[in-house]
């Protein structure tokens, strides 16, 4: 008996035991639906994290930070190191073949004034790569250029919230403001940056608002006018392609190690950060997994029991089949395929239910979800696996029945 016929026979058998099939299927349907829901929620969460990081500057980014020694006493090399400096940033730009952008940052809170208004405001010293690296399009005017940096130009680019604070509706470009009393010409305004996390805790807080509350000046001007040295608060670099990220990590490490003489820095990719974040989220998913596992397991146990019961009911049938030429293997396959037909149809229904659940979670709970073909495949695979695992024992039992005993059975 070939497999296709077994499937057909299994389907017909199921159709002729509708009550039994429904009971058997419930667990599998719920289990498969849970798997779809779990994976979609997980994927949705992951995707949102990815989108968030993408909005923050994409996956080609590497963040370089100062790594502070855990030892109480610093080594001589550590003491000698100047930490991350603007010169490091320039060296990386010169020497790393895989680098696309280099975005050094020095942040100060300074007195900024326009007309009658004076505020203590965040001022970021940076260079032409900043909007590019941090995915910050310019709304009006222009950003800082290489020329601005070379000339220590007194030019300022404004975040949209600060622009409103100082100018309101008034045109700002071309006007002059003062920073710590020094006049700066306004050359551009950034586009507003926003990102809202969906779901329970997310509410309607713009988690990227801090980007909008900043002024931007050439980093060289910052160093010359407002700071005592060129130590950086942050350094973000990006690779030419996502594939080049490992190479750039390597190159940046090499350049910095040579310049510092000690590994007092840390080069971390955005994808590392995403992975860490997803690992944190994985914990919450354990609960979902437990639900899916329990439903599938219960569904499987129900199937095994119903099949065992149906074997008792069908002992004679098995005897007859063997008498007319079925081998133990034929009987084994028949019963296993019947289990598979039940669980696979349960799996198919479960996927439909799961999609419904996902749509509902998305709408009602406003949680991020994402359904991919892979998720559906995994869910279906789970239902089939349950069929194989829990159909195995009943199938073996059926196959082992002695035909004479089976025919004698009343």
């Amino acid at each position: 008996m070939n497999l296709l016929e077994s499937v057909g026979a299994g389907a017909r058998d199921m159709a002729s035991h509708k009550g039994r099939a429904v009971i058997t299927i419930v667990g599998i349907v719920l289990g498969t639906a849970s798997v779809v829901a779990v994976l979609s929620l997980m994927r949705g969460g992951e995707k949102q994290t990815e989108d968030f990081f993408d909005e923050m500057g994409g996956l080609r980014e590497l963040r370089i930070t100062n790594q502070h020694s855990h030892d109480i006493f610093q080594t001589a090399a550590e003491r000698a190191s100047e930490r991350l400096t603007y010169r490091d940033a320039q060296a990386i730009r010169r020497e790393c073949p895989s680098v696309l952008t280099v975005d050094p940052e020095i942040t100060e809170f300074l007195a900024v004034a326009y007309g009658e208004k004076t505020f203590q405001m965040k001022v970021l010293g940076t260079n032409r790569d900043y909007p590019h690296a941090d995915n910050m399009p310019v709304a009006e005017g222009r950003f800082i250029t290489d020329k601005d940096c070379e000339n220590y130009a007194n030019v300022v680019m404004m975040g949209p919230t600060y622009k409103e604070d100082l100018f309101g509706e008034e045109e700002a470009i071309g006007k002059t403001i003062t920073i710590e009393g020094i006049p700066f010409e306004v050359v551009g305004i950034m586009q507003k940056k926003e990102f809202y996390f969906e779901g329970s805790g997310g509410s309607d807080r713009n988690v990227l608002e801090w980007f909008n509350r900043s002024h931007y000046i050439p980093i060289t001007t910052m160093v010359r006018r407002f700071t005592v040295n060129d130590r950086l608060d942050g350094l973000e670099i990006s690779a030419t392609t996502i594939e080049a990220v490992p190479a750039l990590t390597e190159e940046a490490n090499r350049v910095l190690l040579r310049r510092h003489g000690v590994e007092d820095f840390n080069v971390e990719s955005k994808s590392d950060q995403i992975r860490q974040r997803n690992e944190q989220e994985a914990f919450f998913n354990i609960i979902f997994w437990a639900v899916a596992f329990v439903s599938l397991f219960v569904g499987g146990v129900v199937i095994a029991n119903i099949m065992l019961a149906s074997i008792t009911e069908r002992i004679r049938e098995i005897g007859v089949r063997k008498a007319i030429g079925a081998s133990s293997r034929d009987v084994f396959i028949q019963f296993l395929v019947e289990a598979l037909v039940v669980t696979a149809s349960g799996g198919a229904l479960g996927i439909l239910l799961g999609l419904g659940m996902v749509a509902l979670t998305d709408k009602v709970l406003n949680m991020p979800t994402a359904v991919t073909p892979g998720i559906l495949l995994i869910a279906f695979g789970c239902s089939v696996a349950v069929g194989v695992i829990f159909g195995l024992f009943p199938a073996i039992r059926a196959a082992r029945l002695d035909p004479v005993e089976a025919l004698r059975y009343q």
């Binding site: 008996m1 070939n2 016929e5 017909r12 058998d13 002729s16 004679r316 049938e317 005897g319 007859v320 089949r321 063997k322 008498a323 007319i324 030429g325 079925a326 081998s327 133990s328 293997r329 034929d330 035909p403 004479v404 025919l407």
Partner: protein
């Protein structure tokens, strides 16, 4: 010789006691013979029948079917012999209740393999037609009388064109008139050259056969020819 047995025994070990259902059966059956196996209840008729039908294997002794020794075979090989060489007719019909007659009769062809579904159904319909059930193809067993069910089970036994037809009390669950109809079919098959072996208590039934083998207490007690 189609069937030859040498000193077949069958012992059931029930722990405390041993039941010796067969105590050494040696006999032979030629192709085309029409044999009735008779004997009191519990004498071992069904046990012998199951061994001859390759449903069971003897505890000791040898069994040759069509010249090959089948007492050595197990599992799939034995299933294969049952499928191709043996047609069973049971006292209680043993049709599958949830499928129609065509599907019931086509079942041995499914296990034979190598035929597509429509060919199998065609052949099953032919077999049903030959036992006078051409008008009942789509019926399920519970929609039929006992006689019709037994005719369907004969059709199933014949569909693979086996060399032997084995019938264990084929009229045991039927009234006399229906029983005679069934016997008429078996007579006809025998007349057409099929080897037919029936197990029966009923001497009227046995009288249809041309040879009777009487079993008592697990061994052949008497033989007779009509």
């Amino acid at each position: 010789m189609l069937i030859r047995t040498e000193d077949l025994t069958k012992t059931y070990d029930l722990g405390e006691v041993e039941v010796r259902a067969l105590r050494g059966v040696t006999f032979g059956i030629e192709e085309g013979e029409y044999v009735a196996i008779m004997g009191p209840s519990g004498s071992g008729k069904s046990t012998l029948m199951h061994i001859l039908g390759c449903l069971d294997t003897p505890s000791t002794g040898r069994y040759f079917l069509n010249g090959t020794e089948v007492s050595d075979l197990h599992g799939r090989a034995l299933a294969r012999v049952r499928n191709k060489e043996i047609g069973f007719v049971f006292q209680n019909f043993n049709l599958l209740p949830r499928v129609d007659l065509v599907a019931n009769v086509a079942l041995p062809l499914v296990y034979l393999g190598g035929m597509n579904r429509s060919d199998r159904r065609k052949q099953a319909e032919g077999a049903l037609d030959s036992v006078g059930l051409g008008h009942r193809l789509k019926h399920r067993p519970n929609e039929l009388s006992g006689g019709e069910r037994q005719r369907a089970s004969i059709a199933r036994a014949l569909v693979n064109e086996p060399s032997i037809l084995l019938a264990d009390e084929p009229t045991g669950n039927l009234d006399q008139k229906t029983g005679r109809e069934i016997m008429a079919i078996l007579d006809e098959l025998s007349g057409a050259g099929k080897t037919v072996i029936i197990v029966t208590h009923d001497s009227n039934v046995a009288s249809h056969a041309r040879r009777t083998v009487e079993i008592e207490d697990g061994a052949i007690a008497r033989e007779g020819r009509a």
